[in-house]
C-alpha cells in the first residue's frame, strides 16, 4: 500500500505543479511533495526492515534489501535537492534566465522524474523497468534544455539521441531476456519478465541468449550510467542543465541506471555461470575511471569538471560490482551512497559559487571563503570528500575496493592508482584557487540554502568513521543478494 | 681507579700542555734550518705566550660574549682531548670517556666555535676564513674516519687505549693496510692543523690565509689561548698518530710502573722530535695549494684510507 503512495505522491506532485507550478509558492510545494514522499519512503523502509522484502500488485512491484536503500537515498536526495533549488531557482529567475512558465515545467518535470525513478527502482518487471528508464530520460531531457539556450539545446539533443539509442539496445536486450525466459516460464500470467521469477529459474535460462541479452542491456543502461566510451552525453548535460538537475542526474539517475545493470548482471551470471559479466563490468569500470580522471585534467567549467568526476566514480563503482563478492559489493553499495550524497552537495555549492561569480568558468571563480565562508568551505570539504580524503565515507569504500582489488586482481591496482592520483591532482588544483585567494565579488541576493550541503557532508563523514548496525546489515544483505 | 692513575692522568695532561708549544717551536726551528734562515730559539713560543698574556685586550666594539668565550672553550676542548689520548700510558680514567670518533667530534666542536667566533665580528676576513676552515673540516673527516676504520679492523675497537694495547700485544707488527692509513692520516693532519700545503701558519697574506684569517680579531690573552690551543691540537694529532701507528713505548695497562712511564715519556719525546723534523721537511718540500685544490688533496687522502681498508679485507688479516 505505502508502496503505491511512494509511487503516487510524485505523480500527484507532478500534476499539481503542472497546474500551480507558476505560482510563487511552487518551490515550497515542490519541497513539500518531496518531503511527503520522503516520509512515505521512511514508512516503507521501516516495513521492509521489520518484515523483510515484500511483493505487491500481482508481483509487479517488489522491495528487497537492494532497492530499498536506493529508494531511501533517492527520496532523501530528491528532498534536499528540492530544498536547494528553492533559493537557487529564485536567483535564476531574478537574473532573468528563467520565466514563470519555465519554472512550472521545471517543477512538474522534477516530480515526474522522481516518479519515474521510483518506478524503475520498485518495479519487479524488467519491461516496466525499461519503460521507467525511458520516462526518466524524457523528463530529464526537458529539464536539461530548460534554459533553451543553444548550448542547453545541443546538450539536450545529444542526451536524447544517445540515451534514446542506448535505451533501444536495452529494449532489445529485454526482448531477448523475455525470449529466453518464455521457454522456461511460459506466457501465462506474464511472469516471464518478473525479476523474482527469473532469478528463481536463472539456472535454466539459455546461456547463449542471455549472453547476447546482457551485452545489449549493458550497452543500453550503461549509456545512462555514463560508462566510457558511452559517456559523451554526460558532461554536456551536467554542464548545461540547471544545477539542481545536474545534482539529481549525478546523484540519482546514474545510480538507478547502474541498479538496472546490476539486476541484469545477477540474472545473467546465474545463467551462464561464468565470470564473463563481471569481467565486462570490471573492464568498463577501469576504462571509465581512467578516462574520466584524464578528462578531469583539462576542464575549465566547474559543473563539467564534476560531471566527469561522476564518470570516474561510476567507473569505480562498476569495477567494484565487477569484482563481486561480499566485500566488493558492500564497498560498491557504500560508494553509491556516499557518491550521490557528496556529488549532489558539491553541485549545490558549485551552483551557488557560479552564481556568485556570474560564471561557470573556474578561472572566474576566486576566493570563495572570503565572499561566503559556507560556500567556500562547503566546496572545499565536498571536493576533499569526493577525492577520497578520510575521514569521509568515500575513503571507506575506496579503501575496501582498493584492498580487495589488490587481493583479487592485483593487475588492476596500477590503473586505479593512476586514476585516483590524476583525479586528485586535476580536481584539487582547480578547487583550491576557487576556494582560497582574493576576490571582490558581492555575496548573493538570497541567502544560499547550504543546510542540505552540510547535512550531506555530515552523513558522509559519519559513514566514514561510524556505520549504524541497521545500515551495515542492510548493505550486507544487499551485497549477499548481488553475490558474484 | 687508584690515586696513582689520577696522578698519571694529570701528569700526562700537564706534560701535554707544557710541551705542545715546544713541539710547535721545534717544527718552526726545523723549517728555519731547512730554509736556511736563522732559527728562532726553541722557547720562542713560550715568550710569545707570556707577552700576549700581559697585554691589554683590544676587543671589537660589537663582539658578543660568544667571541670572548671561544678562546677558553678552544683551550678546554684541546686539553680534554690531550687527557683522552694515550700519549704516555693507556690506563687513564679519562681515556674511556670518548673513543676516537668522539675525539673527532671534540675537535669539530672546537672548529665550530672558532668559526662562529670568527664570524661574530662581521669582518670579511673572519667569515671567509670560517667558511674555508669548515670546508677543510668536512672534507677531512671522511678520510679520518676511514683511517679509524683500519685501526678498528685490526684491534676491534675504536677506543684508542684498546688500539694501542692490541697493537703492542704483538710488537712490531706492520699490517700492510696501516701503511696506506698512515699516509692518509698524515695528509689529514697537515690539512687539519692549517699547515702547508693547505694553509700556511706563517703567512698573513690575506687572500690565502685560513686559520690566521679566523683569529685576526683576537688579541692579547685571547690570542694567546687560541695559539696555545692550536699548538695543543697539533700535539694531539701527533699523539693520535703515534697511538695508531707507532704505539711502541706507551705504557700499557698493568705494565705501567714508574720506570716504564719514564721510558714512555722518553719515547714520546723521541717520536715528537722525529715527527717534527719530518713535518718540517714535508712542509718545506711541498708548495701551498690553491684553496680549490684542497678537495683533490683530501680526496687523495680518503682514497688511500679506503685502499688500506680494502687491502685489509682482501688479505683478511
Amino acid at each position: 500500500m505505502d508502496l503505491l503512495i511512494v509511487l503516487g505522491l510524485p505523480l500527484l506532485g507532478a500534476l499539481l505543479l503542472a497546474l500551480f507550478g507558476a505560482r510563487t509558492y511552487a518551490a515550497e510545494l515542490n519541497a513539500g511533495m518531496s518531503f511527503a514522499t520522503l516520509v512515505a519512503v521512511a514508512f516503507l523502509v521501516l516495513r521492509v526492515l521489520r518484515h523483510g522484502s515484500l511483493l505487491a500488485l500481482h508481483e509487479q512491484f517488489f522491495v528487497d534489501s537492494f532497492n530499498v536503500f536506493l529508494v531511501a537515498l533517492t527520496a532523501f536526495v530528491g528532498f534536499t535537492t528540492a530544498l536547494f533549488s528553492r533559493p537557487y531557482m529564485r536567483i535564476e529567475e531574478q537574473r532573468g534566465r528563467l520565466s514563470q512558465q519555465r519554472l512550472r515545467l521545471y517543477h512538474s518535470m522534477y516530480q515526474l522524474f522522481m516518479a519515474a525513478m521510483f518506478l524503475a527502482l520498485l518495479t519487479n518487471n524488467m519491461g516496466l523497468l525499461w519503460v521507467a528508464m525511458e520516462a526518466a530520460t524524457l523528463s530529464t531531457v526537458l529539464l536539461v534544455s530548460l534554459y533553451r539556450t543553444r548550448a542547453s539545446l545541443e546538450a539536450a539533443w545529444k542526451y536524447f539521441i544517445l540515451c534514446g539509442v542506448g535505451i533501444a539496445q536495452a529494449l532489445f536486450g529485454t526482448i531477448l531476456l523475455y525470449f529466453a525466459a518464455e521457454h522456461v516460464l511460459g506466457r501465462q500470467g506474464m511472469t516471464a519478465l518478473l525479476w523474482t521469477h527469473l532469478n528463481a529459474v536463472k539456472g535454466q535460462l539459455e546461456p547463449r541468449v542471455l549472453g547476447l541479452a546482457f551485452v545489449f542491456l549493458l550497452v543500453g543502461y550503461g549509456t545512462k550510467v555514463g560508462l566510457a566510451p558511452l559517456h559523451n552525453w554526460l558532461p554536456d548535460a551536467h554542464a548545461e542543465g540547471p544545477t539542481p538537475v545536474s545534482a539529481v542526474l549525478s546523484g540519482l539517475l546514474l545510480n538507478v541506471a547502474l541498479y538496472a545493470v546490476i539486476r541484469c548482471k545477477v540474472l545473467v551470471e546465474g545463467s551462464i555461470g561464468s565470470y564473463l559479466p563481471g569481467r565486462m563490468l570490471m573492464t568498463f569500470g577501469l576504462l571509465s575511471a581512467v578516462l574520466g580522471a584524464f578528462f578531469l585534467w583539462r576542464q575549465r567549467d566547474i559543473k563539467r569538471l564534476f560531471g566527469y568526476s561522476s564518470i570516474e566514480h561510476m567507473g569505480i563503482i562498476t569495477f567494484a560490482f565487477g569484482i563481486g563478492g561480499p566485500i566488493a559489493n558492500f564497498a560498491a553499495l557504500l560508494h553509491m551512497t556516499v557518491h550521490s550524497l557528496t556529488k549532489s552537495s558539491i553541485f549545490f555549492t558549485a551552483g551557488h559559487a557560479s552564481q556568485t561569480a556570474h560564471t561557470q568558468q573556474m578561472d572566474g571563480i576566486r576566493g570563495l571563503v572570503g565572499i561566503s565562508p559556507t560556500i567556500g568551505w562547503g566546496l572545499m570539504l565536498g571536493s576533499l570528500a569526493i577525492l577520497g580524503m578520510p575521514p569521509f565515507g568515500v575513503f571507506a569504500s575506496e579503501f575496501l575496493i582498493l584492498t580487495t582489488a589488490m587481493r583479487e586482481h592485483p593487475w588492476t591496482t596500477p590503473f586505479l592508482l593512476i586514476a585516483l592520483g590524476v583525479a586528485f591532482a586535476a580536481i584539487f588544483r582547480k578547487v583550491q584557487p576557487m576556494v582560497f585567494g582574493e576576490s571582490d565579488a558581492p555575496p548573493l541576493p538570497h541567502s544560499p540554502a547550504l543546510v542540505p550541503v552540510f547535512i550531506h557532508l555530515a552523513i558522509v563523514l559519519m559513514l566514514g568513521v561510524y556505520m549504524p548496525f541497521a545500515l551495515a546489515d542492510w548493505y550486507r544483505a544487499a551485497a549477499r543478494l548481488i553475490g558474484g | 681507579m687508584s690515586t696513582l692513575t689520577i696522578v698519571r692522568q694529570f701528569g700526562e695532561v700537564l706534560l701535554a700542555i707544557a710541551i705542545a708549544p715546544l713541539f710547535a717551536g721545534w717544527i718552526a726551528q726545523c723549517r728555519a734550518w731547512l730554509q736556511n734562515r736563522s732559527a728562532p730559539p726553541l722557547t720562542q713560543p713560550y715568550r710569545m705566550l707570556r707577552k700576549l698574556f700581559h697585554k691589554d685586550v683590544a676587543l671589537a666594539t660589537d663582539a658578543s660574549p660568544l667571541f670572548r668565550m671561544t678562546p677558553y672553550i678552544l683551550f678546554g676542548t684541546m686539553v680534554l682531548a690531550a687527557a683522552i689520548i694515550p700519549s704516555v700510558a693507556t690506563d687513564l680514567p679519562f681515556a674511556r670517556v670518548a673513543d676516537a670518533i668522539a675525539l673527532i667530534g671534540l675537535f669539530a666542536t672546537a672548529r665550530v666555535f672558532l668559526s662562529l667566533a670568527a664570524m661574530d665580528i662581521g669582518t670579511a676576513f673572519g667569515s671567509m676564513g670560517a667558511r674555508r676552515d669548515m670546508m677543510i673540516g668536512f672534507l677531512a673527516e671522511p678520510a679520518l674516519l676511514m683511517v679509524l676504520f683500519n685501526a678498528f679492523l685490526l684491534s676491534g675497537s675504536t677506543a684508542l687505549p684498546s688500539v694501542v694495547e692490541a697493537s703492542t700485544a704483538h710488537p712490531f707488527l706492520i699490517d700492510p693496510s696501516l701503511v696506506f692509513a698512515a699516509v692518509a692520516f698524515l695528509m689529514v693532519l697537515l690539512a687539519e692543523n692549517a699547515r702547508i700545503p693547505i694553509d700556511n701558519p706563517a703567512t698573513h697574506l690575506e687572500l690565502t690565509m685560513i686559520h690566521e684569517a679566523m683569529v685576526l680579531e683576537f688579541s692579547a690573552r685571547h690570542l694567546a689561548l687560541v695559539e696555545w690551543s692550536s699548538d695543543l691540537k697539533l700535539f694531539n694529532y701527533a699523539c693520535i698518530g703515534f697511538a695508531l701507528f707507532l704505539p711502541w713505548g706507551i705504557a700499557t695497562h698493568g705494565a705501567d710502573g714508574g720506570l716504564t712511564l719514564g721510558v714512555a715519556v722518553i719515547a714520546l719525546l723521541a717520536k715528537l722530535i722525529v715527527a717534527g723534523a719530518a713535518l718540517a721537511l714535508i712542509e718545506s718540500l711541498s708548495a701551498k695549494l690553491r684553496i680549490f685544490r684542497a678537495p683533490e688533496y683530501l680526496a687523495m687522502a680518503f682514497l688511500l684510507a679506503v685502499l688500506g681498508l680494502l687491502v685489509h679485507l682482501l688479505l683478511g688479516a
Partner: protein
C-alpha cells in the same frame, strides 16, 4: 612507606591504564581544538588558555609514553566503538608506539608552549580555526602511532595530512603558499594510496585488516617485497626521501613556524614509525637487499639534503633541507638494521635501530627548536631571507643563546644529543665488514664515509645558519629594532634546548628507551648495563662515550683556565673598532653573504644543482650578482610526468569531439565489440 616504593607502586597503577589515559589526553586535544571555535577571533583566549593546556596534555602524553616504556609490559589493546562494520578501530600501545608517543609529547609540549606566544591575529585563518587544525594535527599524529588496524591507520594518517595542509595554507592569499600546499597534499595523497595498497597486500584475508591478522599472514617472497616497496614509497613520500622530497622544502617554509616545527619535528617521524611498524612488526621476514635499498636511499637523501641546505638563502628552506638530511640519516640506520637482521646479526641490528630511534628523538627536539627560533626571528624582523639578517645575537640574546644549543646539537657536536645518535650509527657501521656477502662487506663501509661527510657538512650548514642570522653586523638597518621573544616563546625554546642537553649528557636514558623497543622488535638489545651517564653499546672495551664527563671536563678546564688567566694576566679590555685592513670604509654589506658561504659547496657539488647565474659585466655601473639554484630532479622527474599527463589528457580529450555521429559510432562499435566477444 618510602617515597621510592610509593612512586613505583603509583607507576605500576598508572601503567595498567596507560592506553586509555593516552586516548583521553588525545580526546582532550580534540576538545581544546573544538573550543577554539567558540571565540575564533579572540587571540588572548586561544593563545593563553587553549595552547598552554594543549602543552600540558603533551607533557602528559610524554609521561605516559615513558611509563609504558619503563613498565615494558605486554602491549595493551583497546577497541573503539567507531570504524567500519566488522572492523572497529583498534588501538594498541606497545613499546614502539610508546617510544614515539614519548617523542611526540616531549617535542609537542615545547612547540605548543611556543605557539601560545606565537600566534597573532592577522591575515589568513582565524586563530580559533588555527587552534582547531593544530590540535587535530597533534591528535591525529598520536592516533597514527596508536592505530592497530589498517583502516584506522589510514584514516588518521590522511587526517594528519589534511589538517597539516590547512595549517600550511593558513596564509592562503599568497599564491606560492597555495602552490606549496597543493604539491604537499598531492604527494601526501599518492603516498597514502601506496601505503593503502601495501596494506592490501599484507591483509590476512577477507575483512582481516587488523595488524594482528597481518602479523599472522604469511606471504610469498614476491608479495612480501611488494608490500615492503609500496610501504617504502608511501612512507618515503611522507618522510621526504629523495626523490620524493620535492614537496618538503616548499611546504615546511610556507607554514607558520610552530607548524613547520610540528611537521619537520614530528610528522616526518610518523613516517619513520610506519616504516618500522611494517618492516619489523607486520612483515614476518626481511631480505638483505631491502636493507641495501633503504641504506642507499637514506645515504643519498642525507647527502642531498645537506648539500642543498648549504646553498639555501631562506632560513626556513635551509632547515627544511636539513630535515631531509636528518631523515636520510635515520633511514640509513633503519637500512643497516634491516640488513643486519636479515643477515642474522641481531645485536648489530639492535645497535643500528637504536641509533635510528634516538636520532628520530633528537631531530624532533633540535629541529623543532630551530624552526621555532626562526619563528621568533621572523616575528622580530619580518625577514626570512638570510641576506637581510645578521647580528641578532645582540638584539635577541635569549633566542640566540637557545638557538646556539640547537645549532651545536644538530651539527652533531659532543656533548649534545645529535652527536650521540650519529656516534651510535657510525659504531654500527663499523660492523658492516662482518656481513656475509662479498662486495657488500666492502662497499657498505664506504657508506660510513658518506655519513661522516654528511655530518660534517651539516656542521658547515649550521655554522652558516647561525653565523649569518645571529652573528656579525646587521645587514639591514631596520634590524636595530628587533626585539627578543616573549616569555612563553622562551619557555618553549628552553624546554626543547633542555631536552637536547639532557639526552646529550645522559645518553643512557635514551638508550634504555630505545632498548625497550629493539627488545620487542628484534628480541635483542644493546648493552644497557652501564650507569646513566655512560654508554658502551657493545662492550666497554670496544667503544664507550660519556657526554656528562666530557661536559664536566670541558667546564672544569675552562673554569680553571679562566681563573688562572684572571689571576696571572690582568690586562684590561679596550673596546675598539674591528681591524679594517687599512680600509676604513667597511660596511655591513661587506660581510660574507649566505650565497658566499654556500659558494664552495656550489663549486664542489656542481652536478647536483641546476644553476642560473647572472654575473655582472665589468662595465656595469651598478654591478648586480644573482644566482638561482634549482633541484635537477624537479626537471628530470616531475615536470616530465606532468607533461606526460597533460599530453595524455589532450589525446583523450579528442574522444569528446562534439560530433553526435562520432558518439553514436562509439556506442555502435562498443556494441559490436562486445557481441564479438560473447560470440
Amino acid at each position: 612507606m618510602s617515597l621510592a616504593e610509593w612512586t613505583s607502586r603509583y607507576m605500576v597503577a598508572l601503567s595498567r591504564h596507560d592506553l586509555s589515559l593516552v586516548l583521553m589526553l588525545v580526546l582532550g586535544w580534540l576538545v581544546l581544538g573544538a573550543a577554539g571555535l567558540i571565540r575564533p577571533h579572540r587571540v588572548g583566549f586561544v593563545a593563553h588558555v587553549l595552547f598552554p593546556l594543549g602543552a600540558l596534555a603533551a607533557v602528559g602524553v610524554a609521561f605516559l609514553g615513558a611509563i609504558a616504556l619503563l613498565a615494558g609490559h605486554s602491549p595493551q589493546i583497546l577497541l573503539l566503538p567507531l570504524g567500519l562494520p566488522n572492523l572497529p578501530f583498534h588501538a594498541r600501545l606497545d613499546t614502539l608506539s610508546a617510544f614515539f608517543l614519548l617523542l611526540l609529547g616531549l617535542a609537542g609540549a615545547g612547540i605548543s608552549t611556543f605557539a601560545a606566544g606565537y600566534f597573532r591575529s592577522g591575515q589568513g585563518t582565524a586563530p580559533g580555526l588555527l587552534c582547531l587544525q593544530y590540535h587535530v594535527f597533534l591528535a591525529s599524529m598520536a592516533l597514527v602511532i596508536l592505530a592497530d588496524d589498517a583502516y584506522f591507520f589510514m584514516v588518521v594518517w590522511e587526517t594528519m595530512a589534511l589538517s597539516s595542509y590547512f595549517l600550511v595554507t593558513s596564509q592562503h592569499r599568497i599564491p606560492e603558499i597555495r602552490r606549496a600546499g597543493f604539491l604537499y597534499l598531492l604527494m601526501a595523497h599518492i603516498g597514502a594510496l601506496c601505503i593503502l595498497l601495501s596494506f592490501g597486500v599484507l591483509q590476512g584475508g577477507r575483512w582481516q585488516f587488523t595488524f594482528d591478522a597481518m602479523r599472522g599472514a604469511s606471504l610469498t617472497p614476491f608479495w612480501a617485497s611488494a608490500a615492503f616497496l609500496l610501504a617504502l614509497i608511501g612512507f618515503g613520500a611522507k618522510a621526504g626521501l629523495v626523490p620524493l622530497h620535492v614537496w618538503l622544502p616548499e611546504a615546511h617554509p610556507a607554514a607558520p613556524s610552530p607548524v613547520s616545527a610540528l611537521m619537520s619535528g614530528l610528522m616526518l617521524k610518523t613516517a619513520v614509525y610506519g616504516m618500522l611498524r611494517i618492516t619489523f612488526d607486520l612483515l614476518h621476514i626481511r631480505y638483505w637487499w631491502w636493507g641495501v635499498l633503504v641504506l642507499g636511499v637514506g645515504l643519498f637523501s642525507a647527502l642531498f639534503g645537506a648539500i642543498f641546505a648549504a646553498v639555501q638563502t631562506d632560513m626556513k628552506r635551509l632547515l627544511a633541507y636539513s630535515s631531509i638530511e636528518n631523515i636520510g640519516i635515520i633511514f640509513t640506520g633503519i637500512g643497516l638494521a634491516i640488513l643486519f637482521a636479515a643477515c642474522g646479526l641481531p645485536l648489530f641490528a639492535a645497535l643500528a635501530l637504536t641509533a635510528a630511534l634516538i636520532h628520530s628523538l633528537n631531530h624532533a627536539l633540535f629541529k623543532s627548536l630551530l624552526f621555532l627560533a626562526t619563528g621568533s626571528v621572523l616575528h622580530a624582523t619580518n625577514q626570512r631571507s638570510l641576506g637581510k639578517l645578521g647580528g641578532l645575537i645582540r638584539r635577541m640574546p635569549w633566542v640566540a643563546a637557545l638557538a646556539l644549543i640547537g645549532t651545536l646539537a644538530i651539527a652533531g657536536l659532543p656533548p649534545l644529543n645529535g652527536f650521540v645518535s650519529e656516534w651510535l650509527l657510525l659504531q654500527s657501521f663499523l660492523f658492516t665488514p662482518q656481513i656475509p656477502h662479498a662486495f657488500l662487506n666492502m662497499l657498505i663501509p664506504l657508506g660510513a664515509a658518506l655519513l661522516a661527510l654528511t655530518v660534517a657538512l651539516a656542521a658547515y650548514v649550521m655554522v652558516k645558519f647561525y653565523g649569518v642570522i645571529f652573528l656579525g653586523q646587521h645587514r639591514e638597518p631596520s634590524l636595530v629594532h628587533a626585539h627578543d621573544a616573549d616569555w612563553l616563546e622562551r619557555i618553549g625554546l628552553a624546554w626543547l634546548a633542555l631536552g637536547c642537553i639532557a639526552i646529550g649528557v645522559m645518553p643512557q636514558l635514551a638508550l634504555r628507551a630505545a632498548g625497550a623497543v629493539t627488545g620487542t622488535l628484534l628480541g635483542q638489545t644493546v648493552n644497557l648495563s652501564s650507569p646513566f651517564w655512560w654508554i658502551a653499546p657493545i662492550a666497554s672495551k670496544q667503544a664507550s662515550y660519556s657526554g656528562l664527563i666530557l661536559l664536566a671536563g670541558i667546564v672544569g678546564v675552562v673554569g680553571i683556565t679562566f681563573v688562572m688567566v684572571r689571576v696571572l694576566a690582568h690586562g684590561r679590555i679596550r673596546r675598539t673598532a674591528s681591524w679594517d685592513c687599512g680600509y676604513p670604509w667597511q660596511t655591513s654589506r661587506m660581510q660574507d653573504t649566505a650565497e658566499g658561504f654556500g659558494q664552495p659547496i656550489r663549486h664542489m657539488f656542481g652536478p647536483f644543482f641546476r644553476m642560473e647565474r647572472k654575473l655582472p659585466a665589468p662595465t656595469d655601473t651598478a654591478p648586480h650578482y644573482q644566482v638561482h639554484i634549482e633541484d635537477r630532479l624537479w626537471r628530470v622527474l616531475y615536470l616530465p610526468i606532468a607533461r606526460g599527463v597533460q599530453r595524455l589528457a589532450d589525446w583523450i580529450g579528442l574522444l569528446q569531439g562534439g560530433r553526435l555521429s562520432i558518439y553514436l559510432l562509439y556506442s555502435f562499435l562498443t556494441l559490436i565489440a562486445l557481441l564479438v566477444f560473447v560470440l
